[in-house]
Symmetry: C2
Subunit: 255 residues, 2 copies
C-alpha cells in the first residue's frame, strides 16, 4: 500500500519555459489578441526580471509554436497559428512514424469525401470563383507535372475551405501535404493522368455548383482511386512514406 500522498510534485520548470508559458497563457485566453505587439526583448527582460538570453529562449519556443511572429521590422507580435505550418509539423511526424501510403489513402478518402460533402452543402460564390480560377490555371499547365501537382494540392485546399469547416480543413492538411509530391510522380508516369485529373476537378466543381452531393462524393472517390491506381503502377501502397518527401514539407513550411 503506497503512502498517502503528502506532497504535490513541485513545479520545477526552467525560467525560459515559464516565460514562454506565461506569454502563451495571455495569448490563448485572449488577453493578448492576435496582432498585438508583445514588446521588445528588453521590455520582457524588465517585466520578467530575467536575463535577455533566457527571454530569447522562451521566444524561440513561442515562435516555433506559431503563437508569435516577427513582422518585417522584426518586432514581436502575437498571431494566429497558420494551419499549413502546423500541418507540416504533423506531416513530418507521419514521415518519422513511417506511415504507409495505404494509411494515407484510407484517411484521405474519408477526409476528402467529408470535405466535398461540406463544400456541396455550403460553398459560397466566392469559393466557386476560386475553384474555377484554379481549374483554369490547371488546364493551362496540364502538360507540366510539377505545376499541375501544385494546382491539384491547391484545388483540394480550396474544396476544404469551401466546406466552411476549419476543423476538417486542418485535419486533412497533414495527409494532403504528403500526397502532393506523389501526384507529380504519378502525372509524370501515367500518360492520361493530367487530363483525367483536370476532368475530375471539373466534375467536382460542377457537383458543388449544382449542390449534387452524390456526384461530388462519386468524383472524389474516382479521383482518389485514380491516384491509387497510378501510384500502384510505381510502388506498393504498403510502402512507408519516405524521408525524402520531407523536403517538400519543409519547403512548404518556410513559405
Amino acid at each position: 500500500m503506497p503512502l498517502a500522498p503528502l506532497f504535490r510534485p513541485i513545479d520545477v520548470a526552467p525560467a525560459y519555459q515559464k516565460v514562454a508559458d506565461a506569454i502563451e497563457r495571455e495569448i490563448v485566453n485572449g488577453r493578448i489578441k492576435p496582432g498585438d505587439p508583445i514588446g521588445t526583448e528588453h521590455d520582457l527582460v524588465r517585466q520578467f526580471g530575467v536575463n535577455r538570453s533566457t527571454i530569447r529562449e522562451g521566444i524561440r519556443v513561442l515562435e516555433e509554436g506559431g503563437l508569435i511572429r516577427r513582422d518585417s521590422s522584426r518586432r514581436l507580435h502575437a498571431c494566429l497559428p497558420r494551419y499549413s505550418k502546423l500541418a507540416s509539423r504533423l506531416s513530418r511526424a507521419l514521415v518519422l512514424h513511417e506511415v504507409t501510403f495505404r494509411e494515407l489513402y484510407e484517411a484521405s478518402m474519408t477526409l476528402e469525401v467529408a470535405s466535398i460533402e461540406g463544400a456541396v452543402e455550403r460553398a459560397t460564390d466566392e469559393n466557386l470563383a476560386e475553384l474555377a480560377d484554379n481549374l483554369m490555371r490547371s488546364e493551362a499547365v496540364v502538360g507540366d507535372p510539377a505545376l499541375l501537382a501544385e494546382c491539384d494540392a491547391e484545388f483540394h485546399v480550396l474544396v476544404a475551405k469551401a466546406s466552411q469547416n476549419r476543423v476538417l480543413q486542418l485535419a486533412r492538411e497533414p495527409a494532403a501535404q504528403l500526397f502532393y509530391p506523389t501526384t507529380e510522380m504519378i502525372v509524370t508516369g501515367v500518360a492520361e493522368g493530367g487530363p483525367r485529373l483536370v476532368a475530375a476537378h471539373r466534375h467536382l466543381i460542377d457537383a458543388i455548383r449544382r449542390r449534387d452531393r452524390e456526384a461530388g462524393v462519386l468524383w472524389t472517390r474516382r479521383h482518389l482511386q485514380d491516384w491509387r491506381r497510378g501510384f500502384e503502377k510505381i510502388a506498393s501502397l504498403d510502402r512507408s512514406v519516405e524521408h525524402m518527401y520531407m523536403e517538400h514539407a519543409q519547403a512548404a513550411r518556410r513559405r
Copy 2:
C-alpha cells in the same frame, strides 16, 4: 517584361535557425534515428562553430517541435514526435481561430466513424483487451464526471488505435482534445448521461468484436448525437470554442 533572373534569392536565416534546420534535416532523413544522442551543447558549439547561446536557441526550436528531447539526465537525443503533443498545438490553434462546436461535431462525426470502421475491420485481440479494460474502469467511475470523461477520451483514442491507421489517429486527435472538457460538463448536467455513455462503449466494443460494421457506425453516430443533445442543453452548437478550454489541452501537453 522582367529581367531574366540572374541571381537566386540568398538564404538569410539567423544562425540559430540554421542550426535547428541542420539538425532537423539529419533527423527527418534518417541519418539520426529516434533515440540517438545529439551530443552536448558544447559538442554542438564545436561542430557548428557558433556560440552556445545560439546553439541553445536552436535547441529550443527543435524541442518545441518535438524532434528532440532531454532524457532524465537532461541529455539531448532525437525522438519520435508524440501525436498528443502535436495535437495539442492544433487544438490551441483551433481555439484561437474560434472554431464552433458545430465544426468540431461535424468533423468528429466523420473521423470517429472512420475510426470505428477501421477498428471493426482490423482490431487485434490486444486492442480489444485494452478496450475491455477501459470499459471496466469506466463502469467503476460512472458516477464521477471528471474521471468518466477521461475514460471516454481514452476509449476513443483506443478505438482509433485499433483502426491501425496512424494518419486517422493523428487527424482525429485535435478535435477530440477539445471535446474532452465538454464531456465532463455534459455528464455532470445530464442525469442519465454517464450510463448511456458506458452503454454506448459496450455496444461499440461488441460491434468490433463481432466485426459488425453497421452496428459500429450506428453506435458511434448515436454516441456522438448523445453528446450533441447533451451539449445543446447547456449551450449553442454555433458557439465558438472558448479560451478556457485551453487549460485542459495545456495540461495534457505537459504530460
